[in-house]
Amino acid sequence: MTQEYIATIGLETHIQLNTNTKAFCSCKADSWGDAPNTNICPICTGQPGALPSTNQAMVEKALMLCLAMNSDINMDSFFDRKNYLYADLPGGYQVTQNDRSIGRGGYFDFLMDDGREVRCHIHNLHMEEDAGKTKNEGNIRLIDMNRCGVPLVEMVTMPDLHSADEAATYLTRLRQLLRWLGISEANMEKAHLRCDANVSIAPKGSTELGKKCEIKNINSIEAVRMAINYEIERQIREINAGNKIEQWTIEWDNDTQELRKMRSKETAADYRYFREPNLMPVHISEEFLESIKNKMPELPIQRRERFISEMGLPSYDATVLTADRDTSDFFEAVCNIYDGDNKRVSNWMMNEVLRITNETGCAVSELKITAQDLADIIHMVDQKTINTTTGKNLVDMVQSSGKRPQLLVEEHGLGLVSDDSAIRAMCTKIVSDNPKEAASYRNGKESLIGWFVGQVMREMRGKADPEKAKAILLELLKAD
């Protein structure tokens, strides 16, 4: 009988905070697309005598994450120096938080796609500065210091995850949350969100954890899924072959999509941590904490729950409409204005608004169509001022022109024609222009009625009330 194994996974994530300026100087923090070494100053390039100053925005955003993770807040936390020598670390040490970090413990609840809720405990959260970027070109090592001093939060989970799928979903939900809180762009491809995974396996039922291997440099959620699965498979293969798991550090090679051993057993680096004497302790006053708490938005998992329980949405709709905060806020705004069936609004959101964002790639907040516009369009359809098809087209027209829907209906004469004589005239024309089809109908092919209605609608550019057109056509076709 084959032994069953259970995998245990812990994740270390580095989250780049989206502050305007760097952690300890006033250089621009986000250098995406900028030429190397353009957002630098004496402080972040480690010039002799330059001193760091703590960016309050970093503390504020880190604090929001602590609150979202239900962590204990250290009202006085400290910055420490992590000493090591490397060309992309201009000070010779990284300013980080070692033993008294801003957040301790906590947990993150998230939903798997099948609706199962997973709780992942957090070990700690700390603030630190990023190092620069190193690029090797042949024998030449190029250093870009733009990234030096960019604020990060490092968040380390407990070993609470048990599959690649859980790890990938954790990251997806974390990314959603970070954007929701507005504290990070959380784009893995741009390294705003980076992940190392510690993976071990143990026989099912065993209480002891196996020896763990650390996978570094995983740069997309899909890669996280693949890398962890490969590693679990490798460890099972080793054990089944009678080998022991050694404590390796493994690198994910994104080009070849495979794992590569970097080094066996972490040679315990001595970083000689000590307090950074240039910075005062990070003190969080009760008032400050209170002000951040008041700023905290309803979190996605809570809002999803409310969409189901209070707004009557199906679970699927609630998930889609809480994928990001803009969409979610937009949806709620439409519901408030529309003041009717929320599911009806949900359908319009998912079918029309999200179709446009998918097609154009722009965010809900960047759309020209407003919540008021969408509510108005749904109302017009409800009141049969326009038909559903026109309503859907109107969403696109508002989006492309930025004009209000009522105005567009007037300008383009999109209102439904309920004047019998106009419809009757068009029906008569269609029947007489298409004698072959009329004959087929009369010979019993009654399904052709739909085709006749379609012709009338097309000629009248959708303005005809289709019910009326159908009644008149039936009358005309039967009469002859």
Partner: protein, 529 residues
């Protein structure tokens, strides 16, 4: 009239403001004095001692004549035009070569910074510029301020004591002390991490003020041990130190450890006198405490002439209306030297890591295998013996496995020393003192080479009375109180509580005014005779 160069900064500033002399005139006189007494500047070239080197002070590493002349002319123009000028308008000053000066070579007296011109100026230099003082030169120091004699500089010849040319000027602000003592400018900016302003001031018979940690911005000053580094003036008179402190003190958003405590009018406050001031004397500052071969604490007396001058000064203070409180315990002073060794070296090691030969300064010309080989060779060539020693001992002591044994214990000792101050100065406590009177150093200036060659306790523990204030963060001022039987200056230290610079300046000023006519004040340093 006394020669211009011998005037205090307060007097020089007044003459300029009253248009009795011009700033350019004063600058020329100062540069002429440098020309006369300083000799060749320290350099990185292989050093061959010339006979004339033994007769000169060698305080300066660099004279920035054009830069200074432009500033002096600007000041003269403003005054002629009746435009407002800063308090120090037209007064020439020098700065220890750890103050970054934009576009002006800054060396920290180390080869590792060879050729570096800072892209920015330190806050203190900017403030001096706003006060319209005239920076005319950068002075020598111990490499990265590591030392108490200025002998560890990579730039030779090193600085000589203007009072005795065969003796050290003290350090690490030895260039500053010697320059001011030899009337090469009335003001020099120094730094003090364990006594580096106060000890050389004492050795050269001048005034040196170490402000409270957080009182003066450290931004742009190349650090030694960041938790203890302070910036302050070396001057010939107490008023001049008060004058300068007013201009350089204050909150700086670029230094997180500065505070928003209001800056006093130190100069005006000097006139308030010391009636009722409670001045303490501590037995722990009248002896050297050390560990003997058995690992037990043992003690040795300070130089008897120095102890005598403390008691003599106490009498004088009492006569001036102060209360003298004897036997104030400062029992943790004995930890200052060993704790200083650990903390300062760990911070120094970390602060030296950025000098990698890549970004600025000296890069090896040898061929290198890889990045680490480049570091190894550049740093091997660039750092001097003392810097390497501090790096290695700092790296050793900071190992994670020794964290409890060294760093944590040293931090606890530091907290105990701080407690000594808190208790002695507690206004509701037993002693309720305003200041403590101590010797600045256990002995006067020593001979070249003695700092490493001699096993004299007084030399090895030369900074035992000054480091506690760097640990506690409290201010201290060293001021001259006379000459030893061999004609060497002796300094006394008055130390006060946090941000009480005004009080210690008042005490030192009272002493100075009461001894203006003393015979020893008529004696000049040998280079001025």
């Amino acid at each position: 009239m006394t020669e211009l160069i011998e005037l205090s900064a307060v007097e020089q500033a007044a003459l300029i403001r009253e248009k009795k002399i011009s700033s350019v005139e004063l600058l020329e006189a100062t540069l002429a004095q440098v020309e006369k007494v300083d000799g060749r500047s320290g350099s990185l070239e292989p050093y061959v001692e010339q006979p004339e080197d033994l007769e000169k002070v060698h305080a300066f590493l660099l004279i920035v004549r054009d830069h200074a002349m432009a500033k002096a002319k600007e000041v003269d123009r403003k005054i002629a035009a009746g435009e407002p000028v800063g308090a120090l308008a037209g007064v020439p000053y020098s700065a220890k070569d750890v103050y970054c000066t934009k576009g002006i070579r800054t060396t920290a007296a180390s080869r590792i910074l060879e050729g570096w011109k800072p892209p920015y100026s330190s806050t203190v230099i900017e403030k001096m510029d706003q006060a319209d003082a005239v920076l005319f030169g950068k002075v020598n120091l111990d490499e990265f301020t590591f030392g108490g004699t200025t002998e560890t500089t990579a730039f030779k010849p090193t600085v000589r004591n203007p009072w005795a040319l065969d003796r050290v000027p003290g350090g690490s602000s030895g260039g500053s002390a010697a320059a001011v003592s030899a009337c090469e400018g009335a003001i020099s900016l120094g730094t003090d991490t364990g006594g580096s302003i106060r000890e050389p001031a004492a050795f050269t018979g001048i005034v040196g003020l170490k402000p409270t940690y957080g009182r003066v911005s450290r931004y742009g000053v190349i650090p030694f041990a960041s938790s203890m580094d302070t910036m302050g003036p070396l001057t010939r008179t107490v008023s001049d130190s008060a004058f300068v402190l007013k201009e350089i003190a204050g909150f700086d958003p670029r230094d997180n450890t500065t505070v928003r405590v209001p800056v006093d009018d130190y100069l005006a406050d000097l006139q308030k006198g010391i009636k009722g001031l409670r001045i303490g004397i501590s037995p722990d500052y009248l002896k050297i405490t050390y560990l003997d071969d058995q690992g037990n604490y043992a003690s040795a007396p300070v130089d008897p002439e120095i102890e005598a001058s403390v008691w003599k000064a106490a009498d004088l203070f009492r006569d001036l209306g102060a209360e003298i409180i004897e036997d104030v315990p400062m029992s943790n002073t004995k930890y200052s030297v060993p704790a200083y060794f650990v903390i300062s070296r760990i911070e120094a090691y970390s602060n030296l890591q950025r000098f990698d030969g890549l970004k600025y300064g000296h890069t090896t010309q040898q061929s290198v295998k890889d990045m680490y080989d480049l570091y190894y060779k550049s740093r091997g060539e660039g750092f001097g013996y003392q810097a390497k020693l501090r790096l290695l001992t700092g790296m050793f002591a900071s190992q994670e496995k020794f964290y409890e044994k060294y760093y944590r214990r040293a931090q606890r000792a530091r907290a105990l020393m701080r407690r000594d101050f808190d208790e002695a100065f507690n206004p509701q406590g037993k002693y309720r003192i305003d200041a403590i009177l101590t010797p600045s150093t256990p002995s006067p200036a020593f001979r070249f080479g003695d700092a490493v060659a001699s096993d004299s306790l007084l030399i090895q523990f030369a900074d035992q009375f000054t480091t506690p204030m760097n640990f506690a963060g409290t201010p201290g001022i060293s001021f001259p109180c006379g000459l030893s039987s061999s004609g060497l200056p002796i300094g006394l230290q008055i130390t006060g509580y946090d941000y009480c610079e005004s009080k210690i300046l008042r005490a030192a000023f009272a002493y100075e005014q009461a001894t203006l006519d003393a015979d020893w004040r008529k004696i000049k340093p040998v280079v001025l005779r």
